[in-house]
């Protein structure tokens, strides 16, 4: 049996074992319902929850904040990254600032965001944007850097225009790393929005999760955690598929 197949079987076994022991321990009462809801009960509740108006509103609020933050922050980060990557002198000047910002733990600045932006949707969106901005920026700068300068010179000597160089060389060359940056940015963005909602908010999935936790209501709490986990894992894996495609595309164009 090949190693790849053994790995796949191992992974399936471990996930199955995890879910089975979770289900078994909670069903048999080894772990009480006050501590953890059985997996199946939580999934049932999740389906019910999506039927309720309030949960749909919370889920929608969070999803729209994440989407807006991404729609504003991602293009901004990619454009800034492209400019910094192309404009070496500016990049060299701003590098300490960018590195410093990358090293700063943004999560602990949450109280200041509330002081400045209040507790509404705006604050969640801004917090999401700051979470995604720098990681996407740095990856985009790296993407520009990954374009070999000899290839630019070669294309120029063939008489290619600036736009042709961007379209034929930069776009396929940068795509994989930019997509990595966008994927990581999205993960941080979701984390930022949910954290902000858990801290202080009027609505949203984070707020709902936190309230269920405070009241010890484990069934909807577990259900919501499953919803968040499954959707982020799916999103992450889907974006990775695009990354791999872009990588193949880059190799094909490059050859």
């Amino acid at each position: 049996m090949s190693l790849g197949r053994q790995i796949l079987i191992g992974q399936v076994l471990i996930v199955a074992l995890f879910l089975a022991s979770w289900e078994l321990a909670t069903r048999t009462g080894v772990i009480g319902i006050d501590t953890l809801a059985p997996f199946s009960t939580a999934v049932e509740r999740l389906i019910e929850l999506f039927g309720t108006e309030s949960f749909r509103r919370d889920f929608g609020a969070t999803a729209s904040r994440v989407a807006i933050a991404f729609a504003i922050g991602a293009p901004a980060a990619v454009i800034c990254g492209f400019i910094l990557g192309e404009w070496r002198e500016v990049e060299r000047m701003t590098r300490p600032v960018v590195n410093f910002a990358l090293g700063i733990p943004q999560s602990i600045f949450l109280p200041i965001f509330i002081l400045v932006f209040g507790i509404g949707a705006l604050q969640k969106i801004v917090f999401g944007i700051t979470h995604l901005f720098f990681v996407t920026l740095v990856n985009t700068i790296g993407a520009v850097r990954s374009i070999p300068s000899e290839q630019v010179t070669a294309l120029r000597s063939f008489g290619a225009s600036r736009w042709q160089i961007y379209l034929r060389l930069y776009l396929p060359g940068m795509l994989p790393l930019v997509l990595t940056g966008l994927r990581l940015g999205m993960i941080f963005n979701i984390l930022g929005v949910l954290l902000a909602e858990m801290y202080v908010a009027q609505n949203g999935l984070g707020k709902a999760i936190f309230n269920w936790g405070e009241s010890g209501d484990t069934v909807p709490l577990t259900a919501a955690i499953i919803a968040v986990s499954v959707s982020t894992i799916l999103l992450n894996e889907i974006m990775r598929v695009f990354e791999r495609r872009a990588m193949r595309y880059r190799l094909e164009v490059g050859s």
Binding site: I7, Q11, P105, S107, I108, L115, L194, T232
Partner: protein, 255 residues
């Protein structure tokens, strides 16, 4: 060097002066930005009360970091040496790391209560994953020859792990420790901010609700200093160790 030090000191003094001036002049809402003087004053207000909070947070961090190191390194060493173990666990842990783990914190509150237990447990979870992932990567890249060497010189499994594989993968482990320990610090503070009755994060949140902006800035500055201290300290060791490994033959003398 003294010259640049002078310039930096002067720049800092000017910066603080302008900051203080802007706040004194009333150009910025005092709830949003506290002047440096208010931040310093927060140090000794209410009888150095924040020191108690800070002390508790540090204890939680030390305890959680020790556990995260032990679990992360131990798991990584055990799993990383076998291609099958690495193949199974590396993608699984990477996938889990994409989940906004903070949504699990309410569950930890249910399990471990509002005291330090829930903070420590959550910090161990979020900190040990990058440590385990980096350790695995480090161990996997060990020259397979060392495994044969260990067996041929009669090293027991424990001796082989502790005295050969662990030091050989130390550069990767150190970079995992830097990331993981930073996450431990952030996790403890953020969890305290979200729900707690004591600790630095609680102190920040509590003062935010009272609009003691100076206190909030002081607390956040301290938390950030802890993260930077970890980052800088472990980063320093990491670079020194990496330099040791890369050192080229000083005098490649005869044969």
């Amino acid at each position: 060097m003294t010259r640049s030090f002078l310039i930096k000191t002067a720049a800092t003094i000017v910066f603080l002066g302008v900051w203080e001036g802007i706040c004194r002049a009333g150009w910025v809402n005092p709830i949003i930005l506290a002047p440096p003087s208010a931040i310093v004053a927060a140090l000794y207000s209410s009888g150095w009360q924040f020191l108690d909070a800070f002390q508790l947070t540090i204890l939680c961090i030390v305890f959680a970091a020790a556990l995260a190191w032990l679990i992360g390194i131990g798991f990584g060493l055990l799993v990383g040496l076998s291609p099958l173990g690495y193949g199974i666990f590396s993608p699984l842990l990477t996938g889990v790391f994409a989940i906004p783990l903070i949504t699990l914190y309410p569950l930890f509150l249910v399990w471990f209560g509002i005291g330090p237990g829930s903070k420590i447990a959550f910090a161990v979870l979020s900190g040990s994953i990058p440590i385990a992932l980096n350790t695995m990567d480090g161990v996997r890249l060990i020259d397979r020859g060392y495994i044969k060497l260990a067996r041929s010189i009669g090293a027991s499994p424990l001796q082989a792990y502790l005295r050969i594989y662990f030091p050989l993968s130390l550069p990767a482990i150190l970079s995992g420790l830097r990331i993981g320990t930073s996450l431990v610090v952030i996790s403890v503070v953020v969890c305290e901010m979200l729900a707690s009755v004591n600790g630095l994060g609680f102190w920040i949140s509590y003062n935010r609700t009272l609009f003691n902006t100076g206190h909030v800035y002081l607390g956040i500055t301290l938390a950030m200093a802890c993260v930077m201290l970890v980052n800088f300290g472990l980063g320093h060791i990491e670079r020194r160790y990496a330099a040791l490994g890369e050192a080229r033959p000083a005098k490649a003398a005869r044969v």
